[in-house]
């Protein structure tokens, strides 16, 4: 080897040594609370205002949650959360740009700053909340994992699935949950895990696997893509808790509050009977709670770093939670999902938003 090669190898070795020693030092996960200077994390609100739009991470096409039509317009309940944030920040719900992400890319895209908020039917788990440097800003859909089987197999319960071939998407809590379920019940199965949801659906439709598993809302959505949607049934068992919600980066409390309270505003609005049609006229209602929400009383908007009509903009341009639900995943849509546990707490569900006061 000539001299330059020796020198270059020495440089690479030194670099590896430096890198390695730092990693040895940091082998235990660093406690996130140690960071006292939050100024080092760029304030997302300022960056978003400078850009002029919210960069929203969404799925690659899940009907009802985030799906683009053939003109490129995105709709869905996750899309509505992002539009709500844009309405709160800019007063204009259309100031959003969408980045479709696979389940493998989604957290890296958020952590690296490529997107401002991830609204992609993402399950809130402890690992994701603590180990990835991210925070979940709330739950916009309480879901659970279920199974879809062809009706002609005659299976009535998930406990009859010993020996099944199961298709799922890779890199999600789905794989872990289905493995746990089969282990608990002493059953065997073969897992076929694809990267893209469309490939999973195509493989299930072709008969490669007998069972398709994902969140029940996903099952309802993907069933619409099958060749013969009515020839399949969702089994009654729900094998996990899947609270789906928007995610933001750790270390930026102001942006976290904005996303959280956007969702809360939409839920509170449904509770108080404020819809996109009557929001403007309800601003002068006698009810003080409504006045506080819509900004006629108090300075709640300013405390978020936004204008006082932040919630009024959200509700008049995007709608309340119920409107969003009915329009995209409700019983009158192809997904046909009833409110179930996603109804308001006062109507038998568990949707309960903290009050604006």
């Amino acid at each position: 080897m000539n001299n330059i090669s020796i020198v270059l190898v020495a440089i690479v070795a030194a670099a590896a040594g430096y890198f390695g020693s730092t990693m040895m030092k940091n082998d235990a996960p660093a406690p996130a609370a140690v960071k006292t200077e939050t100024a080092s994390v760029e304030a997302t609100l300022n960056a978003v205002k400078a850009k002029g739009f919210v960069q929203c991470g969404v799925s690659q096409g899940l009907p009802g949650f985030s799906n683009a039509d053939d003109a490129g317009n995105w709709t869905g309940i996750d899309v509505d959360v992002c539009r709500g944030v844009a309405a709160a920040v800019f007063g204009d719900a259309s100031k959003v740009k969408y980045t479709p992400l696979s389940s493998k890319q989604r957290f890296t895209a958020l952590a690296s700053g490529e997107i401002d908020v991830l609204s992609r039917n993402t399950t809130w788990t402890m690992t994701r909340d603590t180990q990835l440097g991210l925070n979940f800003a709330g739950v916009n859909y309480y879901d659970g994992q279920g199974f879809l089987v062809p009706t002609k197999l005659g299976i009535k319960s998930a406990l009859e699935m010993d020996g099944a071939n199961v298709c799922s998407q890779t890199g999600t809590t789905t794989e872990l949950n289905v493995t746990d379920f089969f282990r608990e019940n002493g059953m065997k199965f073969n897992l076929v895990a694809f990267e893209e949801a469309d490939a999973v659906v195509a493989a299930y439709d072709s008969g490669r696997c007998d069972v398709y598993t994902t969140d029940r809302s996903g099952l309802a959505a993907q069933r619409t893509k099958l060749a013969n949607p009515d020839a399949h049934m969702v089994l009654p068992e729900i094998i996990s808790k899947e609270p789906l919600g928007p995610v933001v980066r750790q270390g930026d409390d102001q942006w976290f509050n904005i996303v959280r309270w956007t969702l809360n505003a939409m839920i509170n609005a449904e509770e108080m009977g404020i819809t996109s049609a009557n929001a403007k006229s309800m601003a002068n209602d006698n009810n003080p709670a409504i006045k506080r929400l819509l900004g006629t009383e108090g300075t709640f908007g300013a405390e978020l770093g936004l204008s006082n009509d932040w919630a009024l903009n959200i509700i008049s341009q995007v709608g309340n939670y119920g409107e969003s639900y009915e329009a995209h995943v409700g019983p009158n849509t192809p997904l046909k999902l009833g409110r179930g546990v996603n109804a308001l707490w006062s109507q038998g569900g568990i949707l309960y938003a903290a009050p604006v006061r």
Binding site: M23, I155, D162, E195, R208
Partner: protein
Amino acid sequence: MSALINDARFRNIGFQVLIIGALVFSVWWLMDNTLTNLENRGKSLGFGFLVQTAGFEISDTLGTWLFDYEVGVSSYTDIYFIGITNTLLIAVLGIVFASIIGFTVGIMRLSNNFVLKYFATVYVEVIRNVPLLLQLFFWYFAVLGILPGARSQMEVLGGLGGLNITGLYLPAPVFQAGFGLVFFAFIASLILSYGIAKFSKKKQDETGLGLKVAVIVPVLIISITGITYVLMGGPLDWTFPEFKNTGPVFKRGFQSDSGMVLVPEMIAVLLALTLYTAGFIAEIVRAGILAVSKGQTEAAYSVGLRPGITLRLIVIPQAMRIIIPPLTSQYLNLTKNSSLAVAIAYPELVSVFAGTALNQVGKEIEMIFMVMSTYLVISLITSFFMNWFNARVKIVER
């Protein structure tokens, strides 16, 4: 000072020092930046995750069989090795089959037979111009589309094996005590055959008459291995795939613990990769053969050699030194292209380690670094071997 700059030696060394300094600085800056950003986002670096147990299931493949994969017991290190095994399986089989098909198609394209030439041309042009991912999806869903369902079968090997949409089921060998000796006998017979081939060539160079190697070698290998096998009492058992037609729905079809299964994902990946790379290899082979001067072929014909022998003994040895360097690139491409298998659920290294495991663990930089280094090592070994082979087949010109 100007005297220094005018001195060529000083300039040379000075520039080298400057460039090395810039290189060191940029590497240091990149790493420092990365570490600072990671700290700010609350993430840490470390390889401690490798001993944690994994909580997800992996498809039945060579890797899971070799490493006895069990959920909740195997660690991420096992998953790493399972991924490498599956990648290497695809890479080795792919390289072998792609070379065979590529050489055949390349020579076909040069033949005088119109049908062969036309077929080879169409094959090469279509295969080279369609993206590999699309070809992969095509073969996967085409294969899935024509196979019988999970609860029926198409018999193979006269009923010993079967084929359906969940895989190709074949009898699996079960090695018993004493098989090691049979294996050694096989290796010994190979070495002996190699020795005999060399001896025969030497004898042919000296006297013009060699031994009939094509007959002696197979007879030798089979007899030595066979005799050892019989002497050891036949230490090889077979388990056959079991097919059930009755019982609960999911228990029907092929039973999972019987025989050996080749999942359709692996078959599709192999098909797509082999055909794709063979298209490129065909063109490389054709280029190599065309590069041998026509005078060689004419001289061979004038001496009375038939076209087949001319091709085998005169043209191809000279073409090899042109074929081998680009061929190395195609082998490396095949190895790296196997990472596309994640799109159709084949659990090779990228799919299972830099995909599923990465999503569960979250340590992107460490895991991607591991995967990149692995591919680098595999590629370096392949090109090292190919360069050695190239040096061996180089023609020494006078």
